[in-house]
Amino acid sequence: MSTIHLKVNGESHTLDLDPATPLLYALSDDLALRGPKFGCGLGQCGACTVIVKGQAIRSCITPVSTVQNTEITTLEGIGTPERPHPIQQAFIDEGAAQCGFCMSGVMLTAKALVDKVPHPSEQLIEQSLAGVLCRCFTHARMMAAIRRYAAGVAK
């Protein structure tokens, strides 16, 4: 075990963890966050996605030791139910979920893309989501929500 310093959603935390512990476990267990979720533990589905240095990364395969003192943003870090982030609002407005388990992967991946490329082509959006799964297949609404968000950002 080692002392690990994490900066999550603007707050600093000091945890006593095995440095090899995947970041996801620190977030969902030690910090009791609900946004990032365990889906596969293999970096294949996106349910555990968080944003680090502007990149959407898979927290289930990222050792905590590699993201110390770096700002980590989870789905709950970008907005609240009362004041959702514009991308969250777009997903609410489009009703773009069924079970909702995959939202971190879909929304944070799209947000990281639009932050970098404010006018992404359809193709670029699709490429960015090529490693994200939604098994309820709410795809049509998700794409509509991402387009709506991107259009708002571009204004």
Binding site: K37, C45, Q98, C99, F101, M103, G105, L129, L133
Partner: protein, 778 residues
Amino acid sequence: MRAPMNKAFTGDARAALSRRGFLKASGALVVGFSIFDGVEVAQAQFPGPVALSPSLAQLDSWIAIAADGSITAYSGKEELGQGISTAQTQLVAEELSVPFSKVNLIYCDTAYTPDQAYTSGSQSHPANFNKSNLGQAAATAREALFRMASEKLGAPVTALDAADGVIAVRADRSKRVTYGELVGGKKFQLALDPKAKRKDPSEWKILGTPVKRPDLPDIMTGRFEFVHNVRVPEMLHGRVVRPPAVGARVLSVDEASVRDLPGNVKVVVKKDFVGVVAAKPWQAVQAAAKLKVEWSAGTGLPKQAGFAEQLRQQPVRDQFLLDSGDVDQQLKSAASVMKATYFHPYQMHGSVGSSCAVADVRSDGATLWCSTQAVWYQKTTCAMVLGMKPENVRVIFRRGSGCYGLNGADTVTYDAAVLSQAVGKPVRVQLSRKDEMAWENYGNAYLMDERVALDAGGNIVAWDHEVWTPNLGNRPGTGTPGNVITGKLLGFSPDAFTPRSPAPPPGNFNNNSNGMPSYVAGRIGGVNRNTGTVASERVLVHTVASPLWTGPLRSPARLQNTFAHESFLDEIAAKLKADPVEYRLRHLSNPRLRDMVQETAKAAKWDARPSPNPKRKPTGVASGRGMACVAYERDNGYAAMVLEVEVNQDTGKIAVRRIVVSNDCGPISNPDGLRNQLEGGALQGISRALGEEVTWDDRKVTSVDWRSYHSLTVGIEVPTIECVLVNRPEEEATGAGETSITIAAAALGNAIFDATGVRLRQIPFTPERIKAALATRA
């Protein structure tokens, strides 16, 4: 924004309080639940024995009105992500004339909610929105409130109006009384009145409208509590160690192999069940990986190549759904006969989140938080697993990742229960991706022979459908935990397979499996009960023993049978050079299904002509369109789909461009929720048709992650999906969650045929299979 559903029941409150402190500190929790003063308080602990479900015949089992007028509705139909909790809330708000936000819906907790068996099979809408159960309870409550108000206000019921939880005299609105003043905090003590009048759909203000799901803000901002997020005081983390091969049994376990690992690791072995418990989840993961277990070799698996055809050689349990007795003779004397064989593989539920449960098992009672589809049944079988009385087990539903049927939710509940019992502390278990995928109860494989006799005019005069489907396990129901892997490892047996041949004559009409094609008459007891015209008809089902676990997967049997029926109908039409829409209508008698076919064709601007497209190109990208339809379970939803596709004939790759789907589920309760189901179902059906197939080697399942099991990702070029919603307020409410998925594979296969002239009879339609089929073209 409305408070998230079940807020008072979340694990948050529990987690914040120690068990002993709970009683003292829980005052805030009971606000809004005053009728359960003293009951709700105890919910952090086992609340005392509950043997029987609240009676479905009693109003108080469904509706409670608090002193402040807030309404609590209790349902045995849970939210699986399909929006039915929103629709149920709309239903109660509508019947009681209160705003949507005034109703708090509590579902699936054996301490409070009525036993409505499973939430599955497109049954929630018909069960609770027709003239029984929740809908009828709300109507009964409304009439009771009007009677009480009439007495209190001294005016006849006909002179009263209700709005916003207040009943007033229409002519003098100063004469008014609130629901809270009438019954607040008291029980109705009334039976459900089957004659209580439901509101006419023409009066609906809340039901029938696209009310937004109130859970979405929490879901979208990462606040929603899934079962994966349930945390209780002193909770530990478990991990199971599944066998390395099918049928492998424990020979020895070396507990010393994990003794020095951090987290105070405990090893639990019970027959062939092996698991570990540690203080933290990552410690449990590490311990499970390092635990040395010696297993026997296992029972082996049949070769996957040739698996479909060898199903014909197995011992069978036979069942006739239909047998008019003249099919063989018709086939012999027909102008022509057509036949084809289709195969649908085992497929997975493949939930994005692997299954999870939390168990708190003590000597005097057990509390389980899980995403089972049947809390009351789970109460019974968990009691068997724990060796407890069912009344001492409480099962609380918490939402999981979308399950689409029997995923790992039940088995992981047993895992958590066994581990918690062994260590005497609450234990949370989430399965690994591999453990979820390797041991699921897969959607059944189906080998299907279709045969028809045609007259000289090209009309179908006899239809013969014969299927072989392997089966092992099922939902545990109330019968046996052994129907899922954990129960089997613990020594329980799955439902026995008993060969039986020949089949007895058909019993009562039952087309729940859609084994009968829509085009046959379904004549039983002298009455045509199905949706078609073909009078000579036979449907024979051979169930055989399965080497892999099986269980209901969204549209079980219905999807597989419909894939064969709707593909074969298309083959017949093509052979006769008939337009596939016209040819369907020629053999359909049911007006609602006929409407679906016609509405869809109209909306899609169907170009009436035979398939394949006479202008099709022999190379490069070819486009085509296909149609399929279904009367789901004969009378539980009607739908048709037109699908447009592009086939790259060089690579075998498929791009679905456009889907038009019509649906009739009787009165529409929430049009947006319905669209969401139709859209998601259609694409899930496309994913299943294009890539999904369970694979195995001679010992074990090999499709154990998202590299080896091929789901479409979010990053596909999403086709345009147009939904045609046909509202029939005069009809009964039917299911709507499984119609579009049921017809997607056939519509796709028919479109590929239209584009290329190549017929695909085996799912999935992989590029390799498509290229191989294209290569056989003349």
